[in-house]
Symmetry: C2
Subunit: 569 residues, 2 copies
C-alpha cells in the first residue's frame, strides 16, 4: 500500500519541490472555507463533528492508564468538558520504540507517502479542526480555519518536502571503483540506509497548536521517526484529532499506529515534560512556548536535537511614509489580529520624537501616535466586527498582563472589554497602546508583553530606531521587523539591521499583506539567527539532522575488469 | 577577483556535486606523491620547506601579543624547536568580528571560490604539509602525505561542496504573487540573504590535524563564517601552514585575512579552550579529541553549534571465512597501520570460543587467534619495513597505555619496541594483542584503548558477537564495524546490528581495502548516530546549520495585472 501513497501524492510533492526552490506563491490547500472546495456541507459537518467531542472522552486506542485527563476551557466561554485517555509517558516511549523498527525499515518513500496521506485527510477535516482551534485558542473562526487548517497543512507539507529534498539525495546504493594503475581496480558495492533518530517529542503551544506543532511532527514522520505529541494542556483537541487521523492512516498502511501517540495532560505539566524531555529515547524535540521553558530544553535535553520557538520582541520602525493613514490601517490590523497573540505580532513601534515626513507634509510624533491609536480604535469600536478580527484572549494570564501594562506609560488607547454578540462569556479585550520613551523606558520595552499590548516609542532619530530594532532582536529575539520609509537609504539600513538582528523584514506594508503573516513555501518563519527561535520553518537545517545514514560496503568484481574479461572470453 | 575564483574552480565543483550524489570513486587530488603529478622537485622542495621551519618562529601577520608559544616534539625524535606568534583569544575574536562583515557581504560564490582556491594551493603544498604531519603526528611519510595532504583536501572539498549544494538552493530573490479572486493579486518582491553564523572555532587533534581539522574549517569558510583555528599543542605546524595559505588567498582576493586566524598554544591549554568555547561570539565549534572534552563542549557551549568526534570502540566480528590467512593479513594491516592510532582502527575482535568454519574446515578459537597474531608479527618483524606502516607513537601517553594494557589478559602477541633505521630516537612500538573473554572481561573491552592495542575476544556465538558489537557501538560509540562471514544471514544480521548501532559496516575485507580507510565523496566518516561522533563527514546536516537566511519583502506591481494592463493599453 505505501508505495501507492507515495505515487498518489507525487505530483503535489513535485510542485512543492519547485515551490521551495523558487519561493513564489504556492499552496495546495485552499485557504478559503469555500463550499465549492470543501463541499457544500463541510462547514456544518465540521461544526457538528466538533460539537460531538464536547462533554465526551476522546477515543484513541493507544496505551492508556485507563484514567482520563483534560481541562481545556474555551476562550469563547463554551463549555468543552472533553476528556482524553491518560497515558503513562513510559508506556508511550515503549510503544514508540516497538513501532519504530518496521516504520524505519519502510524507508523514505513510505514515510513521505504516509505523511502526505495524513495531510490530505487533515485537509478534509479542516472545519472540525478549525472549530477546535477556535474554541481552544480563542482565534476567530476564519483565522482558526485558515491558520489551524490549510496554513498549518502548508507548513506541514513544507517540512515534509524539505525532508524529501534531503532524503532523495542519498543514494540507496553505489558502485565504487578505484583505479590501481596496472593492477585491477578495487571495487566495492555500498549500501546507504537512512536511519531515523528514534522517537521525537512535539510540545505544542496554546495559541497555534497545529500551525506550530505540525512542522516538527511532519519533519519527524517524513524522516522515519516515531513521535509523541504532547499538546499544551489548554489546546489539546486540535492535536488529538490530528493524532487520531495520523494513526488511522498508519494502521491502514500496515504500520503500528503507535508511530504517533498523544500525551494529553492536565495543566501544570511542567515536571512531567522535563522528565520526559531528558529521557534517552527522546532524540528530537520540537517546542513552541516561553523562553524559560525553551531555554531549559536547549540546556538540558543534550540527548536530543532541540528545535525551539520562544518569545521575541517584534518591532516597527516608522521613518517616513507617503500615506500615514494607509500605514496606520495596516499596523492597526496587525495589532488587533487575534488580539496580538501571534508570535509575529508587532509590539514596539519606533517614531522619531521630532516627527516624520509624509507626502502631505511633516507629522509630529503625537500626530503619528494619534493616527495609530485612531486606526486601532476604528477597527475595534464595533464589537460585532471587531471580534471577527480579535477573537478572544486565550487565558487569564494575558488579561492580567494588560492590566499590568496599563501603568507602564501614557495611555494612547486603552484596552476595552467587548461583549461578543454570539458568545456572551467570551474573553474579548481590544489592544492597549502606550507611549514610551527610547531612553527612559528601555527596560519596559526590551521584553515581550504577549497579548494586545503595544508601545509607540519616541526615539531621537530613525538611526536610533534602527539601532534599537537591531540590538533588541539580537539580544531578546524577534520574528518580525517592519519598516516604513520613503528613503531608499533608510530601507537599505533597515535591511542591514535586519541581517545583523537575524530578523525577517517587511517594507512599507500598506495593503493586504500584514507583518504577522508568513506564507509557507515563500516566507521563512523565524530565522534561527536570534533568540526568538533556533530554527526556521522550514529549511534544510530543520530536517537534515533528524536522520542519519549508515552504510555498508563489500568487495565486488570491478566493472571495468569484467568488461575486459567479457571481451577476452 | 572572487567571481573569477568561483569560475576558475567551477568544473571541479560540478564534478564534486556529481560525486556526492552518486558516491562512486572520485578524487581531484592525486594521492600518490608522484613527481609526474606534483613536479619533479616537489618532494625535495617540500622537505626543504619543512626543514626551514625548524628552530624558527613561524611567520604569521595576525594579531599577536609579541610573545611566542610552541612545544611540539617529533615522534621520530627530530628536534623541531618551532615557535609560533602567541595570540590573545580576545584579540582574535575581535579581529574575526571585524573581518566578518565584508566577508559575509561577499556572498556564497565568493566563499566557495576562495575556499577552493585555498584548497588548490594546499594541494601544491602537500609535501611540505606531509612532512609536517609526519613529524608532529608520528605517521610514516606515505600516510602523512596521503592522509595529511590529498585525502584531507578531499574531505575539505567534500565539506565545501555540501555547503554549496545547500547554498545554491536558496534563491537570492523571488517574486510572490497571490491571487485575490476578482481583485488584483497581492505581489511582493522578496530578497533572501544567506547570513553566516559568525565566528567558528576549529579544535584540532594531534593525530590527524588536517584530515580531521579541514572539514570544519572549510564548512565554516564555505558558508561565510570567520574561523579561529586552534591546533592541538602537539600538532600545530600543519594547521599553521594551512592558516598562512588561507590568509594569503583571502588577502589576494581583497578580504581581511583575519577571516582565518591561528591560535597556537603550549600544552595543557584546556582552561583556555573552555573559556574560549563558551564566548558568545563563537557560534560554531568543530572538535576532534577525547570523549571527556567533546562531551564538555556539547554540554556547555550552548551558544554554538557543536560538531564533535570523540572516542569509540571499533569492532570486528569473525563468524566464518573462506581464507583465514587473507582475512588475517587484512586485519593485521589495520591493526599495524599508524600503530592503531587511527580513530577507525579496530580494537575488539570477536571470535566464537568454539571456533569458526573456513573453506579448509573448522578452525578453533586458538587457531584464529594464532593466525591473527602471526599476521601482525609477520607485518612488523622487519623494522625497516614495519616503520613505514606503523610510523611512530604520537606521545608517551600511548606508550604508557600499552604497558597498562599488557596486564589485561593473556598476551597473544606482545608489543615490541623497534628501532627506526632512519630516526634512531623514533618512538616505535608494534601492536599488542591480548585474549579476553566476552563475559569475564566486559569492563576491559567496553572502553577505547587508543593506540596499538587489540583484543581477540572469545564469545559464545556469532549472535553474541553481534549483540556486543551493536550494544557497545550504541553505548560507547564506534566509527567502524567489520564482519567476516560466508553466511548471507549473518551478513544481514550484521547489517541490522550496524544500523541499530549507528556504525559503518565493512564486509569480508580481504583485499586492498582496510576497515580504517574511508574514501571522501563515497564513505561517510562517522554517522552521528552513536557516541563516537555527533556528525558525519560530510553530509547536509554537517553544513546546513552553519548559516541562516534572512529575508525582506516589499510590495511590487503584480505581473499578471501588468500583463493585462499592457494588453489593454
Amino acid at each position: 500500500m505505501t508505495p501507492t501513497l507515495f505515487t498518489k501524492h507525487e505530483a503535489m510533492l513535485d510542485q512543492a519541490l519547485t515551490a521551495i526552490e523558487t519561493r513564489g506563491y504556492w499552496s495546495p490547500f485552499a485557504e478559503m472555507p469555500s463550499p465549492k472546495v470543501y463541499g457544500e456541507t463541510a462547514n456544518a459537518d465540521g461544526e457538528a463533528a466538533f460539537k460531538r467531542h464536547l462533554g465526551k472522552t476522546f477515543e484513541l486506542d493507544q496505551p492508556s492508564t485507563g484514567e482520563t485527563v483534560g481541562k481545556e476551557r474555551s476562550p469563547f466561554g463554551v463549555t468543552l468538558g472533553i476528556k482524553y485517555p491518560k497515558a503513562d509517558p513510559d508506556a508511550l516511549i515503549r510503544a514508540a520504540a516497538q513501532a519504530q523498527p518496521s516504520w524505519r525499515a519502510a524507508g523514505p518513500q513510505a514515510w513521505i507517502g504516509v505523511s502526505l496521506e495524513i495531510l490530505s485527510r487533515l485537509n478534509r477535516a479542516s472545519f472540525e479542526i478549525g472549530y477546535s482551534v477556535m474554541h481552544t485558542t480563542g482565534q476567530a473562526f476564519m483565522m482558526a480555519f485558515q491558520a489551524g487548517g490549510p496554513h498549518a497543512q502548508d507548513r506541514a507539507l513544507e517540512a515534509a518536502v524539505y525532508a524529501w529534498d534531503q532524503l532523495r539525495r542519498i543514494p540507496s546504493e553505489a558502485h565504487w571503483e578505484k583505479p590501481q594503475g596496472k593492477n585491477p581496480p578495487l571495487a566495492m558495492h555500498k549500501r546507504f540506509t537512512v536511519v531515523p533518530r528514534g522517537t521525537g517529542l512535539v510540545l505544542g503551544c496554546c495559541t497555534f497548536p497545529t500551525w506550530n506543532g505540525y512542522p516538527g511532527l511532519f519533519a519527524d514522520l517524513a524522516t522515519g521517526n516515531a513521535v509523541i505529541v504532547k499538546p499544551h494542556p489548554g489546546a489539546i483537541l486540535p492535536l488529538a484529532i490530528t493524532v487520531r487521523i495520523a494513526r488511522e492512516v498508519l494502521r491502514e498502511a500496515g504500520f503500528d499506529p503507535n508511530v504517533v501517540t498523544l500525551l494529553a495532560t492536565d495543566p501544570d505539566d511542567g515536571a512531567l515534560v522535563q522528565q520526559l524531555a531528558v529521557r534517552p529515547e527522546i532524540k528530537l524535540i520540537d517546542f513552541t512556548g516561553s523562553t524559560q521553558n525553551g531555554t531549559w530544553l536547549e540546556r538540558h535535553a543534550h540527548q536530543a536535537q532541540v528545535f525551539t520557538e520562544k518569545a521575541g520582541v517584534n518591532q516597527i520602525v516608522i521613518d517616513s511614509v507617503d500615506d500615514m493613514k494607509a500605514a496606520a490601517r495596516n499596523i492597526a490590523f496587525s495589532l488587533a489580529l487575534y488580539s496580538g497573540q501571534m508570535c509575529t505580532a508587532p509590539q514596539n513601534i519606533y517614531v522619531p520624537r521630532d516627527g516624520i515626513r509624509t507626502a502631505d507634509g511633516q507629522l509630529s510624533f503625537e500626530d503619528v501616535a494619534r493616527t495609530l491609536a485612531g486606526s486601532v480604535e476604528k477597527l475595534t469600536s464595533d464589537a460585532a466586527r471587531a471580534v471577527e478580527l480579535t477573537g478572544a484572549i486565550q487565558n487569564e494570564g494575558v488579561v492580567e498582563r494588560i492590566a499590568q501594562a496599563r501603568g507602564l506609560g501614557e495611555v494612547l488607547l486603552d484596552s476595552q472589554k467587548l461583549t461578543h454578540p454570539a458568545f456572551p462569556e467570551a474573553r474579548v479585550h481590544t489592544p492597549l497602546l502606550l507611549k514610551l520613551d527610547a531612553h527612559a523606558d528601555r527596560e519596559k520595552f526590551t521584553k515581550e508583553w504577549f497579548g494586545p499590548i503595544a508601545f509607540v516609542i519616541a526615539t531621537d532619530s530613525t538611526a536610533q530606531s534602527l539601532e534599537l530594532a537591531e540590538s533588541i532582536a539580537q539580544e531578546h529575539g524577534a520574528l518580525t521587523l517592519s519598516v516604513y520609509s520613503t528613503d531608499d537609504a533608510v530601507i537599505e539600513s533597515a535591511h542591514e539591521a535586519a541581517i545583523r538582528g537575524g530578523v525577517a523584514l517587511s517594507i512599507n506594508l500598506t495593503g493586504g499583506v500584514f507583518v504577522n503573516q508568513s506564507a509557507a513555501f515563500s516566507d521563512f518563519h523565524g530565522t534561527g539567527a536570534n533568540p526568538a527561535a533556533n530554527a526556521a520553518l522550514a529549511d534544510a537545517a530543520f530536517v537534515a539532522n533528524r536522520f542519519r545514514v549508515v552504510q555498508s560496503r563489500v568487495h565486488v568484481a570491478p566493472k571495468t575488469a569484467s568488461a575486459e574479461a567479457g571481451q577476452t572470453a
